[in-house]
Symmetry: none
Subunit: 192 residues, 2 copies
Amino acid sequence: MSGFNVGTRLKQLRQSRDLSQRELAKRAGVTNSTISLIEQNSVSPSVSSLKKILDALPVSISEFFAGEELANEQVFYRAEELTEIGDGNLSWRLVGARRPNRSMSLLYEHYPPGADTGEDMLEHAGEEGGVIVAGAIEISVNGDTQVLHQGDAYYFDSRLPHRFRNTGDKECVIVSANTPPSFAEGGATQHH
Amino acid sequence: MSGFNVGTRLKQLRQSRDLSQRELAKRAGVTNSTISLIEQNSVSPSVSSLKKILDALPVSISEFFAGEELANEQVFYRAEELTEIGDGNLSWRLVGARRPNRSMSLLYEHYPPGADTGEDMLEHAGEEGGVIVAGAIEISVNGDTQVLHQGDAYYFDSRLPHRFRNTGDKECVIVSANTPPSFAEGGATQHH
DNA sequence: CATCCTTGTTGAACATCCTTGACAGTATAA
DNA sequence: TTATACTGTCAAGGATGTTCAACAAGGATG
């Protein structure tokens, strides 16, 4: 339920700056334990704590929840190189996760029968669209629910509440894109 | 030191949607007291609590910490509704062609054996990426040539010279996205 | 080997957030 | 007036986040 993977994102940012938990804690005015627990997603930090820590990096809060860091100019991504950001049940694989300043997120998604992104709607500003490559999926956007099949597609403003559910008995495969990018490497956000 | 007025911002968003504290609390799965205290800046909410509340508005976290607004258009596109912009040999079908102010172009592409986009330099600024859904394709970007197979992906800056060729004997299917959008309704700019 | 420094993790105590359950104020209607 | 329904606020206590202090693992040094 935590939603955004705060811990993984923070860990990435800290490590990319070559800081130890203790060093970052010192700069932020919190204890190393706090950072350890947050990075393990053992707690959901208060906004004030998180802000103290991000200020020490430094990274703005909105940047933390939206933007992406790191450097890379890789062009080709082998299937096994895609970054898995699913939750163990459904699978979302991100293309070019480490790419700096990506202007969009491209995802290769696999929904087993029964997979459900959950009702908690609305995660990111921007737009998203996708093409159903195999199987079928029930998509709800802003109260409108439809079942899309292979070859069908969707495109909507990501701020509208939305939900994806595989109500069939076969795996559903989708290739989707969203902009601005809303996924950080390594972190599963609940959502869609 | 907080630097950011979480309470006031939340209050604005809630009131702009004409919700009472109790109504919002109910939707978010928290109590009205929580919202009251946050709006008065009497507490600094945990990220998880804040997220629950923002999900109910709905507003994304990054949006909350930055600021923006909303829109709405057609969401679902049946396979036969996609706009064909290919040349009769290879097929490119555009999702949401009529959508005004799209921030990206999403394409469902079919390359028959032998299909070739031709070398095409520096056509448009932006980025493009895709996932190979079926078959295989030879892609050249900035002098680097590779053959990608089902499940592989690519992502590059569109200003780099690039070329797509199906050198195999089976149809290749790709779902791709590019941003900013390089296809307008009614007319294909060349691209790829 | 021991010693020292650093790393990240964890249990118990403490601080803060969050909920429960009230309260007062306003508005509408009988 | 009384009743009902809504609004936002607040005190007390339970739930959760944070600190303190200890711990183990890994490297470097002697």
